[in-house]
Symmetry: C2
Subunit: 218 residues, 2 copies
DNA sequence: TAGATTGTTAATCGATTAACAATC
DNA sequence: TAGATTGTTAATCGATTAACAATC
């Protein structure tokens, strides 16, 4: 029985950052790393780092630090390392095509399907993958065993596409459509809304602007 | 004196979602909306929604609800609505080009510069914008007054590009490079790491997989 | 007035961090 | 042993939510 279900969401969200730093250390030939060094490189508090790692088990040595190879393997294992995950992308617009090309030679993911509702796009080649019709989605998800999907369709289509993916067997979805998707039972959806990210930045820029209008305070 | 500096980060992160729902309501001709309806549409708890809105001031009427036009304007005002923010994009690779095209006809943002270090890309047209050389960055940021930037360069270049942007006058940066950037004084950086998002989804998919191997429990 | 809904209080929950005992 | 660093306890902090008084 693994204890993964007890890892808090905030910790899970930081694991990929830790993994990146660890792989850099492996590449650099490091054998041992302390929580202070690792926390500094990952941009977090060292107590938080030790607490996060403790959810994975005890892989450090008191008075010494963490074995780089062991810890890297452990974190990677939790994040699905060791296999190349098949991913399908729905939507071959600007974002979908960019992601297909972006992940074309990714070490941990492999784009096994790219779908679009527009017949004019079906058959074209993007990042080494041929665009398929939506009607082929279920069969390709089934034959490739893809558990992961990226949704890059207009907001109006996102919910039905996610339902379609869930029905086909996908369990985890990365949604780029500017809409809150209600996940099917047992499906994980994470949203990335680029316009909303820019609006949050505009909030801070606008705040800074009005602050300087009113003078620098104090 | 505005009270914007007191709005908690978690609330700021939800404002764009509220704004989207409000604009849909405006378009649909709604005059009044209750916290329950709005919360449902935004996918949050209604108490949380009322608390979030209370940070912006009291724009509701007890026993009635919120005036759609008034509330939409207030939220939009906080998020920099009313003007079209100039944005520069650094990096004309897959992601940078996709974002330039994606925001080409955006209501709230305008891409006023797209930069790349590769001379072979300089001069080409992407989403109505001509790719400029990095040496033009400072002048274009200054002449357009861009406070916002998107960084879509390799991880090795991200920190120096962010420093360059900060020196040119940019105050808010959306970073797509897979690295933790240390922001210059007074600069806001938000990171979007697509590979890390997929790794988090793979974590959940892997957990689900091993759970089903061990049987569905109880 | 009676019914409805906001804005806020108070309780709960989860995440963060300082501090230190355990221990290499 | 002396020095160093983990793993964990306890305190703090911020975010969430139920409940309800205020009030339209």
């Amino acid at each position: 029985m693994s204890a993964t279900s007890e890892i808090p969401p905030a910790t899970v969200g930081r694991l990929p950052g830790y993994w990146r730093v660890m792989r850099d250390l492996v590449d650099a030939g490091a054998n041992i790393v302390s929580s202070t060094e690792l926390a500094e490189a990952a941009g977090v508090n060292s107590a938080q780092l030790r607490r996060d790692l403790s959810y994975l088990g005890s892989y450090g040595t008191r008075g010494v630090g963490y074995d780089v190879a062991v810890l890297s393997e452990r974190i990677g294992h939790h994040l699905g390392g060791g296999r190349r995950w098949p991913v399908v992308i729905v939507g071959a617009g600007n974002i979908g095509r960019a992601l297909a090309r972006h992940h074309a030679d990714d070490e941990h993911f492999r784009v096994v399907g790219l779908f679009d509702a527009d017949p004019a796009l079906v058959g074209s080649l993007v990042g080494g993958v041929i665009v398929s019709a939506m009607s082929d989605l279920e069969a390709i998800v089934a034959s490739t065993g893809a558990a992961l999907a990226i949704v890059a369709v207009p907001g109006t289509e996102a919910q039905s596409v996610c339902d379609l993916l869930a029905a086909a067997g996908v369990t985890s979805i990365l949604n780029f459509a500017p809409i809150t998707v209600v996940p099917a039972e047992g499906v994980n959806v994470r949203g990335v809304d680029l316009t909303q990210e820019l609006q949050i930045l505009a909030f801070h820029a606008a705040r800074r602007r009005s602050a300087s209008e009113n003078g620098p305070g104090i």
